[in-house]
Amino acid sequence: MNGQSQAVEAFVKKTFTFLDETDSQQLAPFLQCFDPAASKIIVNANPFAQAALFLETWQRAVVQTQHVLTGLDYHVIPGTGTTVCSVNAKVRFDESGKDKMGQDAVLVLDTGAVPGAPLAAAPTAKHRPLWGPYFGTSVQLVLDDRVFNGDHNCVIASFNYTMVYKPDDSLMAL
């Protein structure tokens, strides 16, 4: 059982690493974790028809995140070849005003700005995230039992991600 639970924990952590990834090039293996035929994806009670659509939205329209795993439990449902998994985590967002590409909303900064001043740095330069306060999140996964053998290919049969608490002082609107 220890091997099993370690395999589940490793997979959940890997999922969070993918969600926290800023480089869209790295996301292809994450897409492969979803069962393309029948994967159900629900985020904040909004369903996504396809994993690709969810990952594309997450990548394009959500700023950089940082997930920390705080709770994990799972049950193997006998005779189904699947496992249901309940995960709790906290998550914070990059509140620097920049998206994953490092682009912010600032239009003009010409007049008087000293050349080479920090804000005038090229947007392509790797920026340091300004982490906001932690949100709470609850995630339920239905996984194929192959996950116990370290096989992550098409193992996610459903993925339900819900923010359960939010701090007042965050700049992020849910």
């Binding site: 059982m1 985020v43 439990d73 699947t82 005003g97 600032v106 609850s138 359960v164 608490y165």
Partner: protein
Amino acid sequence: MQNIYQNPAALAQQTALERRVKVSVKGWQNATKQDLVSFVSRKARIAIMDSTVEGNLVVGFVNNRTDAQSLLNWNGVRFAGNSLKFEILGDNSGAAGTSSTITLLKAFLYKRYNPQAKMLDLGNLREDPDLITNGLFSSPSTQAKIFPAMMKLASKESQLIVESVNLSNNQLRDLNMISSLAQAYPNLKNLCLANNQISRFRALEVWKNKFKELRELLMMNNPINTEPLYRSEMLRLFPKLVILDSIVLRDENKLQQVYSIPMKLQQFFFETNELGQSSIDFVSNFLTLWDTNRSQLMALYTPQSQFSVAIDSSVPISSVPNSDQNPTFGHYLPLSRNLTKVSSDRTKQQRLALGQDAIDKMFKSLPKTKHFLQEQATSYSVEAFSYAQVQGFIIILHGFFEETAAPEIDANKSTPNSAGGRNRRFNHGHTNATNKLAKKSFDRTWVIVPSQGSVIVASDLLTIRPYADGSWVPREVPQQVPQQAHPQNPQQPIPATVPQPQMQPTMTNIPAQGLAAPLLLPPEVQAKLNPLQLEILNKLHQQTKLNAEYTYMLAEQSGWNFDVAIKGFQESVNNIPREAFV
């Protein structure tokens, strides 16, 4: 006035009121206000009238100044374990002085408020004729006081909805005088500080991380806007600033995209409408029994069913609304199967309950609870979707419960632990403080399989965490709006079903059958009810004259809420069969 001359009693009353002196009492916390007032009247023979609790003070009036002075002689008198401290807060004439200033300032605020523009115009205060004639802006010291006072008043006036504030032409050199603006209007959208003498960024630093919604700022004619870093500094201080001195500095669309999540949080997700109704029926029936009689839930579980509870003890940051910063999990920790915390293989296995007996025992080891699904529907969020591999579905409920009593079985004593009784952790420094009863938040995941007209629970995963308001709960929105959206708003069903001996037909016939069992309130049922529930039953019985079984049903179906139950009873009293009454 004529009235008073014709009515000497009223005149006497008026003079008496005018002579009253306002006093405050500190250090009474271990008793009620009433106890304090009776204590003072017994001990000092002085009556404190019209008393109210203000923070840690009791504030009230005594008859005259002599009484107030003699009350001061009782300073330090012991009461309920503390020594009391009396203070004179000023007599009526003094209060009148303050209150006249307050009236004056209020009138001034309303004069300067434009409800159409939602704007509070506080420009050029020192040349305002009203303020000058009242000497309120005459010296620097009164000026320094008058603005914070004005802000405090303004924030209490709920009719003043302010999105914009004008503070131009006030000869401001820094924000010391007006820094309280950030407390009064944290969500201010537009601010004008033009024509002042603000010259240094440091002066603005007190507003960093304040005014998170500030969209437009006007700072024309301040020395600061010739500084080379002026724009970038303003952008840094105000993360959502779009327009500075009438120039658009940020792309509003992009800004909105960066600071929001495209998946807008919803309270409910149901794959199909039928699933929605049946999920809500299941959840409310399940929790009703979970709160009142957990053993009856055993009919839903099979020898293969699994249940476990995981404690997520991570405390939410204090800026999460109503979050419990000091949660205790003493009753749960010996059962917790949070795999990020439990390392021993054997413990992981022990804490997974398999089959009815083990599940029943674990249910009994959890504190008794009360959920508020009916009363506070907005505090709960549900997702439900199909689970093809089990030919059933998953229901996930997020919400909170109140712990009403200690568990039947104390897991701290009964759980055999892997250390074979050698574990001294629980023998040492283990006090009741770790077991105090409180509100908790939870996430619960049920895997449900329909079976022969009923359902079974294949898997039941419960996570318990410190209480925090749900993120889906709308802030500052009145209760009605979200309740209308609630598909299960129980306006009519409760009264309608009261007289029926069975619950509404639901997806889960099992809880319904289970309910029919404890009709005569046999002792073992009574033993399972907490004192609060017994009290509700007794009160209902007295008021309605229903017999035991109907009283119990009425209480059960109203979610153990006395008022709801009485209302339901009154609305359907004519339909209740004769034999329901004693």
